[in-house]
């Protein structure tokens, strides 16, 4: 009983039978998942399999068609938006493209959540805070820049500084390394590890970059056609018997698909096409 309580207390986020439909299209189907406190959980899967939809449910940017979402054992998916606004201050979210506000400078982007939540901080302290957050991601000195003047990797680092501005307990990363070269991808990976270590946050990363997944994960979950088909640590995933998992992690088409492609065929047998494509 005590062990069970301990396990429950150790869970930061929980999805219970989560199903999401857009019109008639089922994107997620009966996902049940418990995410441990202070650990890094990586969700992998082919494009269009519902990874981003899943991560947006964790912060209730999308509401489930069926099932429930819990944060620290409190059900949050049915809360009204005004209450969710308070709940969301426990989260930091790094969007795929950074989603920095174009019309604001780096400094103003980072103070945005602080000002919105009326935390009573003087200007000097605010400057110091921004400096600290930017230094954490190696971007101190860029306070006066506009997002348009930053490279893709720099934008993501600034967006990360903004995501940690309110000292969140959970950081969600949506494809953090997509569109970056290998060196910049590694910088982001190191930052994810550093923040997890230094701030002790619970981390959920959605990616299809296996190098990144192996490097940062405590646990990897693979989604395929809206369902979880593999769940375990990096070694478990590497040695998973399922052929779909092996094809994905090795980035290889099946022999049949290769043959069809070489012959100029268009009807692939691949299991990586989304369901509505079939």
């Amino acid at each position: 009983m005590t062990e069970q309580n301990e396990q429950t207390n150790n869970v930061m986020l929980r999805l219970d039978g989560l199903t999401k439909k857009f019109g008639n299209k089922i994107v997620l189907e009966g996902i049940s998942l418990a995410i441990e406190k202070g650990k890094t959980t990586v969700v992998i899967g082919p494009s269009g399999c519902g990874k981003t939809v899943l991560i947006k449910h964790l912060i209730v940017l999308l509401r489930p068609t069926d099932g429930s979402v819990f944060l620290k054992n409190k059900r949050i998916d049915q809360l009204p938006e005004r209450e969710l606004d308070k709940i969301r201050t426990h989260y930091g979210f790094l969007f795929q493209g950074g989603a920095l506000f174009d019309s604001l400078t780096v400094f103003d982007n980072i103070i945005f959540p602080i000002q919105q939540h009326g935390r009573d901080i003087g200007w000097k302290e605010l400057e110091e805070l921004v400096k600290t957050k930017l230094a954490l991601v190696g971007m101190d000195g860029f306070q006066s820049y506009y997002p348009a003047n930053l490279s893709g990797g720099q934008k993501k680092r600034v967006a990360l500084a903004r995501a940690i501005a309110l000292n969140p307990e959970v950081i969600l990363y949506d494809e953090p390394t997509t569109g970056l070269d290998p060196i910049r991808s590694d910088i982001i990976n190191e930052l994810i590890l550093k923040l997890q270590k230094e701030l002790g946050v619970t981390t959920v990363v959605v990616t299809h970059d296996m190098t990144s997944a192996y490097k940062i994960s405590d646990r990897i979950i693979m989604l395929h056609n809206g369902r979880i088909i593999a769940d375990g640590d990096a070694d478990h995933i590497r040695n998973h018997p399922n052929s779909v998992v092996q094809q994905f992690i090795n980035g290889q088409l099946s022999e049949n698909d290769l043959a069809a492609l070489r012959l100029g065929g268009t009807k692939f047998q691949t299991q990586f096409l989304p369901r509505d494509f079939e």
Binding site: L61, L84, R88, G97, A99, P113, Q116
Partner: protein, 270 residues
């Protein structure tokens, strides 16, 4: 064929419902913003963009409306020897109908298009989701300031359009067509009531609200990609234009009823 029409009907009803909900949320968020001093700076910034920057185009619109009316109406009135009444015709048309409607249409193009493009781009680049993810209500942060700025400043912009329309009409009538200035103003003063001026200005609150609501809604529901943003801007302008015309008709009916009921008793009230 039947299926196509039934699908379109269902879609139309769904969109109307979504828009009504969005409009109600905009009103609630705007009312809350009025009570929060920290929101004033956001409204102020939007007032500058939406109101101050629109003054030149609105004045140009008004001036051309007045001048064109003078040229068009002169021949008919002169044929009957009533050219000195030209001022009444121009000024009543400008303050009651053409000034407010054309100023609103100009705003729908200038301001509505910009609002939809800005919010649409924020939507497709996930900036609106980013606002929500940081625990801020996008209706309060993004929609309410724009809605309030449009509602509060459209009547003032209509006053500018009216003023330039009147001056434009005067310039063409008196300077170009040689109508007696004193007669022009005397007939105008006798024919144009405070009521006429007021209803034109009051229309501005409704037109401003319609432009902001339609444009913000289209921005928030914009589809992905450059084509999605472009399509949203077109739909926002067409939607705002139709709303302006429909509101103009509805308000004309309402004001006529109000005028015939209340206006004759004003002497007793004053």
């Amino acid at each position: 064929m039947l299926r196509f029409f039934s699908e379109k009907t269902v879609q139309g009803v769904e969109n109307s419902g979504q828009f009504a909900r969005f409009f109600a949320q905009s009103l609630t968020a705007s009312a809350r913003s009025c009570l929060q001093v920290k929101s004033y700076s956001l409204v102020w910034a939007q007032m500058n963009v939406i109101g101050v920057h629109s003054v030149p185009v609105i004045m140009i619109t008004g001036a051309f409306v007045g001048m064109t009316l003078a040229i068009q109406a002169y021949d008919q009135l002169a044929g009957m020897g009533l050219e000195e009444h030209l001022g009444v015709l121009i000024n009543i048309s400008v303050v009651k109908e053409l000034g407010p409607v054309l100023a609103a249409v100009m705003l729908a193009g200038r301001v509505g298009g910009a609002l939809t493009a800005e919010l649409g781009t924020m939507n497709v680049t996930e900036q609106i989701d980013a606002v929500r993810s940081m625990g801020t209500d996008p209706m309060r942060y993004l929609v309410a300031p724009r809605f309030l700025a449009c509602v509060l400043l459209t009547p003032f912009l209509i006053i500018y359009a009216d003023l330039l329309g009147i001056l434009g009409g005067f310039f063409v009538s008196v300077v170009q067509l040689g109508i007696n200035s004193r007669a022009y103003w005397q007939f105008s003063a006798a024919g144009v009531d405070l009521w006429d001026l007021s209803i034109g200005v009051v229309k501005g609150f409704f037109f401003g609200g319609a432009i902001a609501a339609v444009s913000c809604y289209k921005g928030f529901t914009c589809k992905e990609g450059a084509q999605g943003v472009g399509q949203a801007c077109t739909e926002a302008f067409v939607g705002s234009f139709i709303m302006i015309l429909a509101l103009d008709f509805a308000l004309a009916v309402i004001f006529k009823a109000v005028y015939s009921t209340i206006w004759p008793t004003r002497i007793l009230l004053l």
